[in-house]
Structures are given as structure tokens and as C-alpha cells.
Amino acid sequence: MLVNEKIAIEHGLKTDEYKKICELLKRTPNFTELGIFSAMWNEHCSYKSSRLHLKKLPTKGKKVIQGPGENAGIIDIEDGDAIVFKIESHNHPSFIEPYQGAATGVGGIMRDVFTMGARPIANLNSIHFGSTQHKKTKNLLRGVVQGIGGYGNCMGVPTIAGQTSFDRSYNGNILVNAMTLGLVKKDKIFYSKAAGLNKPVIYVGSKTGRDGIHGASMASASFDEKIEEKKPTVQVGDPFTEKLLLEACLELMAGDSIIAIQDMGAAGLTSSSIEMASKGNLGIEINLDKVPCRETKMTPYEIMLSESQERMLIILENGKEDLAKKIFDKWNLDFAVIGKTTNTKNIELYFENKVVANIPVNTLVENSPMYDRKWKKSKLPKKNKIKKEIYNEIKIKDVLKKILSNPNVCSKEWIWQQYDHTVMGDTIQKPGGDAGVVRVHGTNKAVAASVDSSAVYCWAHPLTGGKQVVVESWRNLISVGATPIAITNCLNFGSPENEDNMGEFVECVQGIGEASKYLNFPVVSGNVSFYNQTKEIGIKPTPSIGGVGLIKDYKKMITMNLKEVNNLILIIGKTEGHIDQSLFARTILDESKGPPPEVNLFNEKNNGESLLNLIDKDLVKSAHDVSLGGIITAISKMCIKGNKGIKLMTPKNLINKTEYLFAEDQGRYIIEINPEDLKEVSKILSKDSVHYEELGVIIDNEMIINEKTKVTIDELKSYNSNWLYNYMDS
């Protein structure tokens, strides 16, 4: 087929991009070449709208072994061990086909991690759905959860934490972000950089089919009415084959045969081969007749653009082919030598003895477009003036019931019970806590991980929202006793071609950057997902932050369950009474204006580090960070989990009691201590200039808010535990 501008535009390229391709090649590309350009130059693979801004993120640190740019980021957890981790989106496919979309999202991120030589040890996810009233929400939720479970459970990797939210801005575009952590020895890490000439290029894993052709292009476009027609672009997952691929790759990696390895993710064979060549500053020659195909008469175009799952590309040392083949035969996987590295710096494709594509690698990577898109700065909204009289009409118990049973606060047990969270025998903090925790097998160490997002704050003021997500991740890790090390981010936004959406992106990234720099909590990997919108309307800006921390002695891990009657409850950090953009404002006052709570990075760092110090000195019995729903929501969850009650004290400061209980000021934690330790604890906190107050005393069976208002723990449980089950049954 002859290529012209019209065909290029059908491939999602812009007119000037097509012109640039012709200039770079000094000729018109053929159809296969055009397909390759469109795959490499789309937003998903080229980061053309985001690159400029992502450069500003802090990515270095003492513990960082590998920052962004590889399959995943890597951090040092001492004793020669390292953690490989990354989060990635699979939003568009999951909306079109929730089970397969979510499943292959999980499969893809695990491959990114084991490509680097690491055995996956934990999965997390951040999933966001439309309004609970929307007709599609229930089925999408069910499908996504089953898909995530279906893949992770079969792989035998525990799903240890996650986040689920509902907001009508996701009605037509749900978000599915999957994160994986893997464990590797520091001296056995594998990279994707090709090296050496005439080295064999090996294809392993599943056969190539026609599924997922142009998946990456689909993920780089907005949705419209014709979305159902895109079903064939969704890949189909086979977790069993991925399990075989994992074991076979790790077996081969135990030796010294591999020069470089790269999974075939978005844009399949195209992006994997080109990335390896580009990083090694080499050329690559592939004979497409050798690629194992599932279907007959596949064209070079289809083979190069297929996104069939569970495939890897490996560059081997010469002479190691037989040894490698033996391993893949043992695991019943396809193995084919499909090409070699060359010094041409071109990607050369042969099919039926003819050259079917010949493109300089640098035109596809370094010369790919980069845009400085127009963006609009957001003003900090003015504070709402809430009349204090409103509070007099409010019954705290009714509000508490509404908040605890709110879809975004209620227990997500219905979800995480469908995920195997205990396989591998090292999960010491299950889903439902501040962070999931797994032991580093056979050691005293444990790794904590959490995934967070606050779309409402980011929507109200992107810069503050961006900072807030990072500090929330930081607090969640500290709440389980982990020292935060680094983050991965999944940046879900609307169209970069829309100035408002682009502004949200730019300022959220700026906020993330400021917070992670201040906290020395660098970004080591991530992914950008634009065009999360239906027609013209974008989703609320939703950066998801996956944080990872280390607990040196896992016996010092903290949970949020209240432990013992008569123990004291303190709140660390100052409560100013910030109600704007809180769950209380939105659900009780029906008010959506105003700024999100301010993020004070000094306080975050100081409060967090001081709490870690208390934990290290064994002074903390339980801890929980205060976030959505304020103090009362946080303490309710601690009561529910520990099956204990609390007698709350009247706050000494002057702010309104309702504001005190429901405000979402940042930088706060609730902790439980032994009353005998109060003196020492207050000494340490005062020395560190950390504000704290006594919040209450642990009692049996009920929460006493004041003399008139008491709620039994069973009532709290029923508010919190049943909502999602009832919703899914209705």
C-alpha cells in the first residue's frame, strides 16, 4: 500500500509529524515503516508532551541504583539486595474490556520488573471508577478486580495494597494503574542496553498474534461513541504463560548468557527492538520470517505492531543459544533466533527475502517529536466562608455514618479478598492498612509499599495536590514504621492539547517534584497516561504515587489496630480546621469550592522523622495517618481494626469541634502509646518541635465523642464494612 498524508493521519500522526518523517528518511516511508513511526511517535511511547516537564523531577539519591529510563526503577535496600519497582497505567483497555484490560496491565508491569532480573514479590493497584450511580460502574469494577486477581493470583505474587475511588469524572474513562515490586541482588540486575556486534537477537515467550495491534496508539487518543469498535486492540492475557516466562527468564539469568533483555510491552517488537538498539547505539537486523506467529499470513506490519502478551526480546552472548533454548524448551516456551545486532545504527527488517523496512534508529527515538504545549496556570481558590451555625444543626453520629460508609472511605474488603495477598508466605501487613508490607524472604528486613492519589485536591489546585499525594505516600510508609526511600508515579490526565488539562499536568508534576525533592524521596520510575477523557471532557487530574520504604527489623512494623485498653492516643501535627475540599465539605455541606489543605513540607518531614524515631525506640503501639475524612475517620478505622473503643478528649484549642474532627489538615498522624511512656514521648516530640495533642484514651467497645454522643464499635463496623458488599449485591 502506498503511503500518503491521509494514511499517516489515520495512524494518529499529525501533518507536520508526517512531513518530518519524510524529511528524516529523505523519502516516503512504506506502510510498515509508517506503522513503526506511528507506534514510536505516539504519546504513549514517545512522551512527546510530557518529556520536557518530567525532566524536572528529582530522580537521584543515595539509594537510587536506577532512575527513570529503564524498564523500572531500582533502589538499594542494603546487604546487596535491591528493589525494582514501577507503576503503569492500563486505563483505555480496561474501560473497553475490563477483565482483559486490567489483567494485561498487571502482566505488563510484572514483566517490566522481572525483565530486570527481579522476582516479583508484591503487586499493588490504584483503580478509579465513575459515580456509583453510573450504569457501567458496577460491571467495570467487577471486571477490573477479577482481571487483576486473575492475573496476579495465577502468577503467585501477592497483591498487598491498593486504592479505589469513585468520582463521576471517571464515568467514561476509568483508571487502572498497576504497580509491582521485585527483589533482585544488586550484582544481578539486567538492563535493556544492547552491546556488541553480531550478537544473536532472541525472541522468547508466546507466539505473536493479531491482538493488540495499535494498542499504544489507542491509548494515545480520546474516547468517543465508537469506542466499542476498539475492542480488537485490547490484548488478551495468559498468566500461566507469563509464569513460565518468569521462571524461564530467571533460570537463564542465573547464568551469564544475557547481554540485554527487554519485554515486549506497548508497541511490541517495534519498541523493544528499537529501544535496545537505541540504548546501545547499535543497529538491529530482524528476519520476520523467524518470528513465531500464532496466525497464518501475518504481514510484517502486523508482526511489528502486535501487542500479544508474554513475550521477551533478548540479546545473547554468542554461542549461548543452545543453552538458552534448552531452558525455554523445559518451560514449553517458543524460542527463536530472529536477528542480530549490527553496526548500521538502523533497524532493518527482512521478510520473504526482501527488505521491508530500513529506518535509522535515532529518527525513531532521539528525533521523535517533543512539544512545549501551551498550558494554563491555576490560581489558588479563595477560602470558603462557612457559617459556624451550620455545625449546630449537624449530628456528629449521622455525619460519621455517612462518611464511614462513603464509597471512597468504606472498607474495600470485597475487592482485596479477591486478590491472593498471602502467597509467598511473607505478607506481614495485608491490604486495608496504611501500606502493605512483605518481608524480604529469609531476612529480618521488610519492604513497605503504598499507592495514593487525591484527585479532588489536584483538581482544586494542581500544585498543592501534586505535593499532597507525595506527602501522603510518605506518611503511609512512616505509619507502618518504614523509612521512605523512593517513589514511582503514574500520571493520569486529560488531553495535553487542552491548555487546562496540560496546566494540571505541568503543575501537578511541579508539586510532585517539590515534595519529593524536599523529602529526599526521588522519583525512580513512572508512566504518563494522557487523553483520559471522553469527547472534550477530561478526568480530574489523577497522579498516582507508589511509595516504597524499608523496615530494617520487621518485628518493629506498626499496624493501625488499637492494641490495649487504657493506652493513650495522641495526635501528631497541628489541626487548623481546614474544611475546604474535605470529604465533609463535599458530602455533608455539598460544597466543592475552595483550596485543598495546605502542604507544609517542613512539618511533613519533621513530623514524619520524629515519629520514625519514636517507633525505633519502641514507644509506638499503633499508628495511622490522618487523611480523607479527618481525625474521626482515622480513629474510627483504628477502633474497627483493633476492636477497641476510645474516649475522646475535648480539644484544648479554640477551633470548632466539628471542624476539629473532620478537617483534612496535612502532616498529621494518630498514635497509640503506653501512658507510662508519655513523658519520654513528649520530651522527644517537644525537642523536635513537633506539635501534638492528647486525643483520648482507649476503652472497650465504644467510641465516646462527647457525653451525648456514643457509638459502639459494632456500629462503626457496620457503617464501614457493609457498603461495598451491599452495592455489589444490589
Partner: protein, 227 residues
């Protein structure tokens, strides 16, 4: 005491079982599904996982694998064979224990702690155990045990039920049944009581920091009985 854990290509609880067996004193060997012969063993374990992907009936392909012929012979000669989760599914497919395992009643994978009540201590697995109600962990999609009325009668007549899902007081009621299993059956023996298949994972409950420690009691007792 020597044990063998069979690794099918999609097994994923094989390492956990290896860790547990070694922790309680077994000299354990991992055996590949494509091998023909079992090493000399006092106990053979079929671990949890997805043996061959289980896209067909769970465990059906595994029951026909090379090593299973040796496992079946070993069981028939009186050797102890323990199948956990997918291992239980494989055992019913071989016919070593009666019945089938259907998809969970609510059509969802379930991962949580459950209580089980022992029904029968007159066997090598539970002899001398000083506890009747155990807190164990389940993680499965197809654990809904089913058999015909005739089979059920035979199972009862021969005391073949090993454990029932119960509440923490040992009451066997519908609310404690996580997956719809007939009569709350969570684990079952062959007639001779040397083969045990059960859905709960004792290997996930072997230390204080995990979901609980009742699995430790099971393994400690088992190795004592074998000695």
C-alpha cells in the same frame, strides 16, 4: 523424615510448602512434574497454584502428568500424599479422593482466614493433635466441594471427612461456609486415610507475623506422627 513437593509448571505455593516442611524438620526435595520417579519419601505434597494454567478443569491436566503415575502408585501402596488447594483439585481429578471441586458459590476468588473443625483424628495427619478448631487461610476460586448423595453416604460411613468449615467455636453453619461446599467440607481423605486433600493452606500460617500459627501445629504434629 523425607518429603517431596511436586512442582508443576504453574505451581506457585511450592516454595512456601518447601519452607514450611523444612522449618518443621522435613528433609524436603522438589520434584519436577516431568520426572518419572519419586525420590524415596515419607510424604508427598501436591502444592497450590495453577498447575498447567487450569484453563480447563482445575487439576485435570496435572492429574495426567508424568510424575502423577508415580504419585498414584505411591498413594496406592499406602504412602502419605497431601494435596493443598490446587493439589486437592489434582487429587480429585486422579480419583484418589472422591468428589469434585466446583467454582466458588459467589463466583469470586476468596483469600481470607477461615476456621475449620477437625472431624477425624484416627489418621496419620491428625492423630494426637491437641486442638479441634483451627484457624487457617484459604485462597482459591474453585474450592466448592461437591459429590453425589451416594458418594456422600460412603464418605460419611468411612469417616472420610477431614475438616469442615466452621465458626471459631466449631459450629458448622452456613455462614462459615466460604465457597458453598456441600456439608461445609473443606478437606477429605481417601478410604485408607493416607491421602488427604484440603483447600486451606497450612503453609501460610507458620509464624506469628503471618496470618496466624495454626499451620505450625499441623506440621509439627504431622512430622511427629511419621517418626
Amino acid at each position: 523424615m523425607k518429603s517431596s513437593v511436586i512442582t508443576f509448571p504453574g505451581s506457585n505455593c511450592d516454595r512456601d510448602m518447601d519452607v514450611a516442611l523444612k522449618k518443621f524438620g522435613f528433609n524436603n526435595k522438589m520434584v519436577w512434574h516431568n520426572d518419572n520417579e519419586l525420590p524415596k519419601s515419607d510424604l508427598v505434597v501436591l502444592p497450590g497454584g495453577f498447575s498447567y494454567g487450569d484453563y480447563l478443569r482445575c487439576g485435570s491436566m496435572a492429574s495426567k502428568s508424568k510424575i502423577m503415575q508415580s504419585v498414584i502408585n505411591f498413594a496406592k501402596s499406602g504412602g502419605l500424599v497431601l494435596g493443598i488447594c490446587n493439589g486437592f483439585q489434582i487429587l480429585v481429578e486422579t480419583g484418589l479422593v472422591p468428589g469434585v471441586l466446583l467454582r466458588n458459590k459467589y463466583l469470586e476468588f476468596i483469600c481470607k482466614n477461615v476456621f475449620v473443625k477437625l472431624d477425624n483424628k484416627d489418621n496419620p495427619y491428625f492423630k494426637n493433635i491437641d486442638k479441634d478448631i483451627f484457624e487457617l487461610h484459604i485462597a482459591h476460586n474453585e474450592g466448592n466441594y461437591f459429590c453425589t448423595d451416594d458418594q456422600l453416604k460412603e464418605i460419611k460411613d468411612n469417616n472420610q471427612v477431614a475438616i469442615y468449615y466452621s465458626n471459631n467455636k466449631g459450629q458448622i453453619d452456613e455462614i462459615s461456609n466460604p465457597n458453598g461446599s456441600i456439608k461445609n467440607i473443606a478437606g477429605i481423605f481417601n478410604k485408607e486415610k493416607n491421602v488427604l486433600g484440603m483447600m486451606p493452606h497450612p503453609e501460610r500460617m507458620i509464624d506469628q507475623s503471618l496470618s496466624g500459627e495454626d499451620g505450625s501445629i499441623f506440621f509439627k504434629n504431622l512430622i511427629k506422627n511419621i517418626k
